[in-house]
Symmetry: C2
Subunit: 387 residues, 2 copies
Amino acid sequence: MLESPMLETADVIEGGDAVLLTFRQGIRRRFHAIWLRDNAQDAATRSPDNGQRLIGLADIPAALRLSAARVEAGRLIVAMAPEGREFAYDAAWLWQHAYDREPPRQRGWLDAHRATWDASLAERLPSADITALGRDDATKRRWLADIRRYGIGKLTGGPITDGALLEVVAQFGFARETNYGRVFEVRSEIAPSNLAFTGLGLPAHTDNPYRDPVPTLQLLYCLENSAEGGDNRVVDGFRAAQRLREESPRGFELLAGYCAHFEYRGRGEVCLRARRPMIELAPDGELIGIRFNNRSAAPFRDVPYADMADYYAAYRRLGELLESPEMGVTFKLAPGEAFLVDNTRVLHARTAFSGEGSRWLQGCYADRDGLLSTLACLEAAATGDDA
Amino acid sequence: MLESPMLETADVIEGGDAVLLTFRQGIRRRFHAIWLRDNAQDAATRSPDNGQRLIGLADIPAALRLSAARVEAGRLIVAMAPEGREFAYDAAWLWQHAYDREPPRQRGWLDAHRATWDASLAERLPSADITALGRDDATKRRWLADIRRYGIGKLTGGPITDGALLEVVAQFGFARETNYGRVFEVRSEIAPSNLAFTGLGLPAHTDNPYRDPVPTLQLLYCLENSAEGGDNRVVDGFRAAQRLREESPRGFELLAGYCAHFEYRGRGEVCLRARRPMIELAPDGELIGIRFNNRSAAPFRDVPYADMADYYAAYRRLGELLESPEMGVTFKLAPGEAFLVDNTRVLHARTAFSGEGSRWLQGCYADRDGLLSTLACLEAAATGDDA
């Protein structure tokens, strides 16, 4: 975000429907009267206690107009008719919230806080010591910011204790309980209810795409790992989607434009189904989610016949990109180590395991809202020299 | 879903890329070789233990072709090259999963399990006795099916006990813990962190649009309600969106096509923000979500200047529709009564309360995935005579 230039002039335009602001260097931004009124910061509009808006649009006259506008001490002052009141806005705040600009045009654009990655992330894989995470706000803030940026972070130095992962989750948010429990045991079982609970290798996948809403975070915490194999691999679904878009814009649009079906049936007590696209875009094209899981993909039936062959070709190609060695980062967790993935974006995989030893991970779902809230508060509290 | 007509013939078409099935009465459906192979039901493709797929597309040759197809005892049998294996598919299953049809064209179409409603739902507002819900599967199944259809259900006859709402949630799913707790107290507070915790009236809103993912269900359970006022009102956001679409297709598209911003800042420890549209459509136009909350709407900054005035006009009109008396259902909860709303769709409101008595509700969030799973299992278990 560019620092706000000084606000110089304000002129009522469009018969009072809007104001034209001119900042230094002649940069112009227009704001509508209704937008300014709705976003007024006075104590009758916004609760000083909690910042919530006290009025609805029904409380704002439809005939609202700007009757005057001026710049005073770097602030915009507008008078509103028919209310006959004045409202003031900081220039920097207006600059930050200006909407008088072209919307993004590229399908699959990314939020500025996010960056995609490939295998080269291995050299700088975000990681933090679990003890430091709990004691030091700067460590926590950096680790959470890395999760926001890359969707993946490792943790080391934790206790080798049943349930320790819940204390990690409590550092930034709240566990999401599901039919798998608050905590689920990832180890080889006899008659497993899910292939995750076998020694089979699992290709890169997001968890629970058959659930809506999907768990947006997953923590996998290692308690034992003396088995042969059982390495973890993570891969950035956003990077894979970007590569697909470069190779085949049509393939990208097919996976974003039609819903896939996902399903998981546990024995008699669970029957989860979801209908969502493999590549999820916001209505203005922001890339916001990936769902990819060969185990739980149900028959696709909302892709029309004319597009199904190309849809499958794009699905196949996305899978190839996800499995491509130059795309992923592989590691083997030691007991007391863990990793957290943004399950709306980063896929995880594991190699098969077997042999003399044993492998026991505990898993837990949580959600991005709590994590991003914790991060935003830490960032707000951080002084400039540490930020 | 029409019952499956008899499958009569199967012909390989498109050089083996697909098969053309002819059902009785000449109804034709085509299926691709890759789709059939990916959805094969044999034990090497799908785990007999848990139904999960054991192969990925990488395990299916790109050169896959159908070398032969026939109908045998009402089933489709296809031979696949180069694997040289045969696979069988039930005709009824193929009929149910056929995708050789036109996709829905209407923006804002609804899932067949859902129906929109207005004030006339008051006469048949879904309701169940809490004791019966816990004891009788048919009662539970019908009540959950009503939630799926209408997004609202009342409950009566429950204990007047702190935390009783969690036992209700456990009947169908899992509570979602947030910064407000697993359970939050809805009563008048001094220095409230949220306007919900005052005696103020609240216009129709969905909860927590500043959270992503939003809690998809909300249960509000009454423990005391002797105050004057404090009536609850519920309104179907989907019906309001449909009405907006009828009145103003452009207004509907603006609210669906641009993201709004929502924000909630608790004192220092919470800073939740989300960027999502007020009307959410799946990529193929299914109406899947409503976010509407005047208290937590943040400045909209991703609607371009040229569309902002019309965006606000649509936002205003949607709010008028939501507050319109012919749209909502009003009731006053007695102690031991509760209601559950689908928070992605049904808005709730309350009138102001005050006076001699007191009003104490407990609230809890949960998610649709668990509810729909419980319902699907109950439906699968129900015999035909009761279904």
